[in-house]
Symmetry: C2
Subunit: 362 residues, 2 copies
């Protein structure tokens, strides 16, 4: 060690209740790489409080530099969609994404990001940390040599931006909409022409009329894309993603190679980013929502009840088919919805009452 370090350590000890002797030991150090589904500067996902870069920084700080993680946004090292396989094979140690991008590997992956008409932030955390969700996620990913962690959350997402008002289920027929994944499959049941478009291409496609509608995240990130400039109807009822969990995956052998202190550091950093990223979304969505409605001429409203009903029926049908086909999906589905049934009764007496009778004068 350098003399400067030794002096500093001794001084810190003197000032700081040094009852234990200084610890001197050789400690393994790791230089790892984290790839991501999202671009290198994507707000929330890659930059800002609770993001992938912040997660790397927290781990490096807590480990005193013993676990350094070099972050690569989508396309910097590998393409966005290759993160799962890259970590599975050990090409990179870590990847940041959302599990629902990997439903092609196992449909059950959907449940660890968000399920339409499923759990919100507080509900998901209860299931994940205490209701068996974390263990099931590990079980689903185990055969791919991956260890998954919840490491962020957007909270409630918005339905999205439409160039024309949606008054009935029929108004959805033929609408060309950017909407990925399971939600896209649900809309297709209602006649929507659902399309997969990368975030950077949403604005130009909506502006040129190639698409009529687009879902992205929530007020803050949607405004960054400029979607309000080319579509005025903002449907707010985020039926499809009530709380969208970010995932960190770690190659299983690499994870097992970490000593216990670094494992604990990674686990706690993920939990910290879970709450800190969601808080950031609440703060920034509240401000962006106010700006969009007050200053940008946006018409914000929930989807009509009949449309929500039709979306729910289509969701139920698709999930039932998936459960029928695949035993591990059935196992995860049953755990998730058994948890939700109890959570719903409790939320009726807690958060529902807060939102309907307490936070505003009745």
């Amino acid at each position: 060690m350098r003399r400067r370090d030794f002096t500093k350590a001794a001084l810190l000890g003197a000032a700081g209740s040094l009852a234990a002797p200084a610890v001197v030991k050789a400690q393994a150090a790791f230089n790892w790489r984290m790839t991501s589904f999202y671009g290198p500067n994507a707000a929330f996902y890659s930059t800002g409080p609770g993001s992938a870069k912040d997660l790397c920084k927290r781990i490096e700080e807590m480990s005193g530099g013993r676990l350094k993680i070099q972050f690569y946004g989508a396309g910097e090292l590998i393409p966005a969609a290759e993160g799962f396989d890259a970590v599975s094979s050990g090409t990179v140690e870590m990847n940041y994404a959302n599990s629902y991008f990997w439903t092609g590997k196992s449909f059950a992956a959907q449940y660890f990001t968000a399920v339409p008409f499923g759990l919100n932030y507080q509900g998901f955390n209860g299931w994940y940390y205490d209701g068996g969700g974390r263990e099931l996620w590990r079980e689903v990913y185990d055969k791919f040599n991956l260890v998954p962690f919840a490491c962020g959350n957007t909270g409630v997402q918005m339905t999205g931006w439409f160039r024309k008002e949606i008054k009935t289920v029929d108004d959805l027929k033929g609408v060309k909409m950017r909407i990925p994944g399971l939600a896209g499959r649900v809309y297709k049941e209602l006649g929507v022409d659902a399309r997969l478009i990368a975030p950077g291409e949403i604005f130009p496609n909506l502006e040129r009329g190639v698409i009529d509608a687009a879902e992205f995240v929530g007020p803050y990130l949607d405004r960054q894309l400029g979607l309000h400039k080319v579509a005025k109807y903002y449907y707010t009822t985020g039926w499809h993603e009530m709380a969208t969990t970010s995932e960190l995956t770690i190659n299983k052998a690499k994870w097992e190679s970490l000593p216990p202190d670094l494992k604990a550091i990674v686990e706690n950093a993920c939990a910290a980013c879970n709450v800190i990223s969601e808080a950031w979304c609440q703060k920034n969505n509240a401000e962006a929502y106010e700006d969009l409605v007050k200053n940008q001429g946006v018409i914000a409203q929930p989807l009509p009840d009949d449309v929500v009903k039709a979306l729910r029926a289509a969701t139920t049908k698709i999930l039932a088919e998936a459960v029928e086909k695949d035993p591990i999906t059935k196992k995860v589905h049953e755990s998730y919805f058994a948890y939700k049934a109890k959570y719903d009764d409790w939320a009726d007496k807690s958060e529902l009452v807060y939102h309907t009778k307490i936070r505003r004068a009745i």
Copy 2:
């Protein structure tokens, strides 16, 4: 170092992408003490996921034993109510409590635990992490040589247990109720005989009829006290504490003596316990609520709207008086409610819609 450790470290390196050389340095080690407002075995507060003991364990694990914290429940080292002064003077390094126990030091401390008709869990976290709340808390505590951290949350608490049904505001007059702090002052405005009773004394007092009603926390912890056995009316509308934040206070000089990695470890452990403790409450309250209503004959209902209105009016009056008297309380109050105003508009389009239209079929 022992040979065994060296071999282990080398093996770990070989298996775990050791690109960096092993780090060898002398590191300051700390043996600290944490006292608590709560008993040594109190569920949620002292034991279980996200509790004070779990917080100590996480810090010790992440630091590889360099920051060891010996936990003392209330009465084991000092009485419950002396934690603030003990940390302020440096007698102990850390204390676990809720800030609203210290409103005698500064009324502003109330806002960092819970404010009647105030922010819920997601709202509070947005204000705390990103809306200036954390910085204001540090400002309020600075003159007491304390550095505060949010390190846990109960989520929505319940109004409490009543031996007789409450149908009108008049029914509250003369009711002898265990209810501490600001909520007690609010009830007094409505004629309640509000009393401060330690948790362990609530059940015998309610059983013997010394009191007619009692507030504690939520279904899981209330059931542990056995309150449902001696009062059947469970009022669920937790108007007084929509999300009750646990605080960790650290003596300022001791905090400043920590090296950057241990500071980061403490901060991230607190954030992790914040989300993990709240998730634990959601899970366990949901199960306990179901049991109380289905198996224990409890009549669970929200307070009548007129009672809620009267409680709101009394709260507004008391907060206005506090703001008038004290500049730092005014500053905190204005920051908190300015944040809440924006959060309310956003929550109307996000969580409110989730609870009213999405999680159950409409």
